[in-house]
């Protein structure tokens, strides 16, 4: 048995890294167990001629396709939206597009404002300093003055509008709609040892340049320099508890496949909205047969994605195509609730530049816009480098019937039960998606699109995994309290997207990391009576 540690973090992704860095200043002995491994910029797909093909294979967003050394299978057959993730140091930030919006102040008050779901136990003002600190460490580019947000000052200049942002922006201006350059966790100039973005155009499969802020190159080097220990290829099977109901440590499999026990004073779970409920449910015992920290019965319930609609416009003039960050500008014209629209809450339009030739061809042949045979070449040239698209990121309201449970048969390489997803789109989400298709089509036409193709939900768009161990003040209606501590197990914390009460209509990474810094700050400030 290894020596006990003060703090044991499970998961080295977006939140685990931020929390580790923040707690490092306490000089406590901190160990992080990560089931995947370090990544090498030199081995990311954009270094090779097969850069597009590999995003469908060893750098697929689906763990069921990728089957990497750190991956576990996920049964998502019973969901129209399939799970996307990455397991390794950096977690989902290795493959994310680095779109970095914050939640809005209204997102924390959905029950009070719109009569649905529940209010968060914290508010925007509480998180605001942690958003700003996270922006600084991650190196966020953007432009101050966005009227969709309270004032904020991104530390780096914005990513280029390019032809795509300029074309779509003109369309929004014709309609008098909101738009703004997207906040992006991408270094637009050399920053803190990272080189500036050179527009590789392949953020979604790892950034060879190191300009994109994945936590393996932002938080982790800083945390390790302060003596945080990160053990890779260590898969945690379960969290164990003692007779006093406190967490004692974890059982895990090391890089050689040997079963180990690591004792800890504080256990912090940072495994994302699927991995965290999986681990808590796999930690069931005679004392807690429903799963650890689950007296509310809400572990694994209220799973939220962001249902995506994709609206693609085709233009006569060439746009950015495969060059530049995939993201460009955003519009939050339809973010806040308007009862006349027939749904509550709203969505963000993320504007996407184009794609490489392989993805253009495969996407066009799949949706019927690029035919097989003799007409293939002419149609392909109409699309390649001539498209812009909106991803409408729709707020998903929590439903207890959308769940993560344990699959009775499927197991990972160590024999640990795998998660099973059950998910259905709500009527509110469908109304919102239909609205987004209509308004997105209108905006593309205003921008000059010759043709518009739309579809929803994006099947392989289950990136944002939220709500499955939510925070709240009422132990019967939440899993952790307002500063991330389990109601049931007083030395157990959760810091990933599981704790989201509602999803908002934006990518969650910025908020996940701000929450992790906020929880870390609470731990530091309460060390003398943390378990009271």
């Amino acid at each position: 048995m290894a020596d006990p540690v003060d703090v044991l973090i499970i998961g080295a992704g977006a939140s685990g890294a931020a929390l580790a860095w923040s707690l490092a200043e306490t000089r406590m002995r901190i160990v992080c167990l990560e089931q995947g491994d370090w990544q090498s910029n030199a081995k990311f797909p954009s270094t090779g001629r097969d850069w597009e093909e590999r995003q469908y294979q060893d750098f697929s967003i689906s763990p069921n396709v990728r089957r990497g050394i750190g991956d576990y299978p996920i049964n998502d057959d019973d969901s129209p939206i399939k799970i996307a993730n990455f397991n390794g140091v950096g977690g989902g930030t290795i493959l994310y597009a680095a779109h970095f919006p914050r939640l809005h102040p209204s997102d924390f008050r959905v029950r009070s404002l719109d009569g649905v779901a529940e209010d968060w136990p914290i508010d925007y003002k509480t998180l605001e300093p942690f958003y700003a600190e996270n922006d600084r460490i991650m190196g966020v580019s953007g432009l101050a003055g966005d009227p969709a947000y309270p004032p904020k000052e991104p530390p780096l200049p914005p990513i280029p509008l390019g032809r795509t942002g300029e074309t779509v922006g003109r369309g929004f201006n014709k309609l008098g709609w909101h738009w703004w350059p997207a906040d992006a966790a991408i270094a637009t100039r050399d920053y803190e040892g990272r080189s500036r973005c050179i527009n590789l155009g392949h953020c979604g499969a790892g950034c060879s340049q190191g300009a994109k802020a994945s936590t393996d190159i932002t938080y982790w080097p800083l945390a390790i320099r302060q003596r945080v220990e990160l053990r890779t290829r260590c898969r945690v099977r379960e969290i164990t508890t003692g007779d006093d109901g406190m967490a004692k440590g974890v059982v895990y499999y090391d890089s050689e496949g040997r079963e180990q026990f690591q004792a800890a004073e504080i256990v912090i779970v940072a495994c994302n909205g699927i991995g965290t409920p999986r681990l808590l449910l796999n930690s069931a015992s005679a004392r807690c047969p429903q799963g650890l920290a689950n007296s509310s019965g809400l572990v694994g319930k209220n799973l939220m994605f962001h249902p995506y609609a994709r609206i693609q416009g085709t233009f006569a003039q060439p746009l950015d195509g495969y060059r530049g960050p995939h993201i460009s500008i955003w519009s939050q014209q339809f973010y806040e609730t308007d009862p006349q629209r027939g749904f509550v809450r709203g969505y963000t339009f993320q504007t996407d530049r184009g794609a490489g030739p392989v993805t253009t061809a495969l996407g066009g042949m799949r949706n019927g816009t690029i035919p097989w045979g003799a007409d293939h070449h002419r149609a392909f040239r109409d699309y390649f480098n001539h498209t812009a698209a909106f991803s409408a990121i729709c707020e998903d309201l929590p439903e207890e019937t959308n769940t993560v449970t344990l699959d009775p048969a499927l197991k990972d390489a160590h024999g640990v039960p795998a998660p099973r997803i059950h998910y259905r789109l709500s009527d509110n989400s469908r109304s919102m998606l239909n609205h987004a298709v209509a308004t997105g089509t209108e905006a593309m036409r205003a921008a000059g699109a010759l043709a518009v193709h739309a579809e929803y939900p994006t099947a392989h768009g289950g990136w944002h995994l939220m709500g499955t161990a939510r925070m709240g003040r009422d132990p019967e209606r939440s899993v952790v309290n307002e500063w991330g501590r389990s109601h049931d197990v007083r030395n157990l914390f959760i810091v990933d997207g599981s704790v989201f009460v509602t999803s908002g209509g934006v990518n969650p990474t910025s908020t996940i990391q701000a929450l992790a810094l906020y929880v870390a700050d609470n731990i530091k400030n309460r060390l003398s009576n943390l378990f009271d």
């Binding site: 280029p160 509008l161 300029e166 590789l200 495969y322 097989w372 045979g373």
Partner: protein, 153 residues
Amino acid sequence: MTDDTQQLAISPREAQELRSYAAAMIPASVEFAVPGADDEQIFAAILHSANARASSVVAALARLAELGGGSFAGLDGDSQQRVAGFFRRESPALAWQLSLLVASHYYRDDRVMRALGMETRAPFPQGFEVEQGDWTLLEPVRSGPKRYRDVNG
């Protein structure tokens, strides 16, 4: 696994089926001055990758041949298009395997990339240029109303 073993993974008959599938998907074009996906050089690369993932490719080709009444390659052009269309609707996962195999090799062939105006290289390390764009376009938005709701607390 040796090269010899890999060469045995896809049989000559299956290779012919795959080559016909590639040609039906992306034929050569005189108008655009590009080879087809059944071009000797491109198909050699396709076949090399097919051998590396033979089990899924063989399964896909078997279903394709079945739909073609025993052989996809033996069908005339119109029949191939009809059978391939049905195959994509009926067995999308299998069809995806073959389409990915063909498209990913076709669109990284130097001749094809040059015809598209692309440089024949990986994105890294040179990267690409992206224009800044006209930032004055933001003025109407900047001077417009606040877009978020005020919330107490």
